[in-house]
């Protein structure tokens, strides 16, 4: 059968979410950000909550989020997404509020805001993209940068004696009582993307049921920052990033499920 005979509206099984605008993403080719942004839109479309959702995008590669979504997105100062989300959620408790933050934002400049929003158990969803580097500003070292990993500000590799250890922040946040759900995913294979979609849906349902803070971390690639092709970056991520940041649920229904002391 000719492909032209199959390409008809009644045979459509997958298309871009209608909540996405026609603007082209500002992300580099092959970046995991694009997949996560699209998946969030799909979840919101499936739940039918597009009129009640407010996104918060702080500074970083997430900064142009308002350009890509057809629902409301508020811009926050660098690191302050959780603080802005707190304000919006308290004024409009019936809205679904989510933040979309990178590791330089959530784990560096915004650690204080994030920690305290989680400790207060603010009823928001935090989507955290961890690619171990400051992608937007040119590949500088982030708190999450792996030991020995080369970036533009540590060209000989991260030396833990002077630069500290990689910050594995989600297990830290999981120990706070206000946090209800913490999980870690990736987007390097279609199966992983589908798992992420389920987790995001769970997070938004937790918010609907007023359970507390839900955190979905996505370990992602940054092929431009790491200086690799998209496929090589994904392979490198599987080999190196997953050792420090293993995938899986960390806290489910308010109970820690990941063994923090397990050898990796």
């Amino acid at each position: 059968m000719d492909p032209k005979d199959i390409i008809k509206p009644e045979n459509l099984v997958y298309r871009k979410s209608r909540l996405m605008s026609d603007n082209v993403f500002n992300f580099c080719p092959g970046c995991g950000h694009g997949v996560v942004v699209r998946t969030i839109a799909e979840v919101i479309e499936e739940m039918g909550i597009e009129h009640d959702v407010i996104g918060i995008s702080p500074v970083g590669c997430s900064v142009f989020l308002y350009d890509f979504y057809k629902f409301d997105v508020v811009e926050a100062a660098h690191g302050r997404a959780c603080a802005v989300a707190t304000g919006i959620k308290r004024i409009q408790p019936d809205k679904y509020v989510f933040t979309y933050q990178g590791d330089g934002d959530l784990a560096a400049i915004g650690t204080g805001e994030t920690m305290h929003a989680c400790n207060r158990g603010e009823n928001i969803v935090i989507v955290f993209i961890n690619n171990g580097i400051y992608g937007m500003t040119g590949g500088q070292m982030a708190p999450t940068t792996l030991e020995g990993m080369k970036t533009t500000t540590c060209p000989r590799g991260r030396d833990v004696r002077t630069m500290g250890y990689p910050l594995n922040i989600t297990p830290l946040l999981a120990q706070l009582d206000g946090v209800y759900y913490v999980t870690r995913h990736s987007v390097h294979t279609p199966a992983n993307v589908r798992k992420l979609k389920k987790a995001l849906r769970q997070a938004f349902e937790n918010q609907r049921d007023r359970k507390g803070t839900s955190i979905v971390e996505v370990v992602s690639n940054c092929n431009s920052g790491w200086g690799m092709s998209p496929k090589a970056a994904n392979d490198w991520m599987v080999e190196n990033m997953f050792r420090k940041y293993p995938l899986g649920d960390i806290k489910v229904d308010g109970k820690l499920v990941m063994d923090m002391n397990a050898k990796r």
Partner: protein, 76 residues
Amino acid sequence: MAKIQGAVTIDNDRCKGCELCVNTCLQHVLGMSAKVNGKGYHYAYMENPGACTGCTNCAVICPDGVISVYRAKVGE
């Protein structure tokens, strides 16, 4: 016996040529075009259209959301 056949459409102008869909496709349907689009990227296209099963893996992994997937029963 009815057979499932799929087909994809790719928005050539928006494709950034990252090749993730080509590496993901288990049926080796997709390939990279020798031509480039307006931004200078080699875009993905259906190199081997008969083999497509419409599994949607390429569209799910596409960072730019340029792929739509169609699926139909054929040969009934």
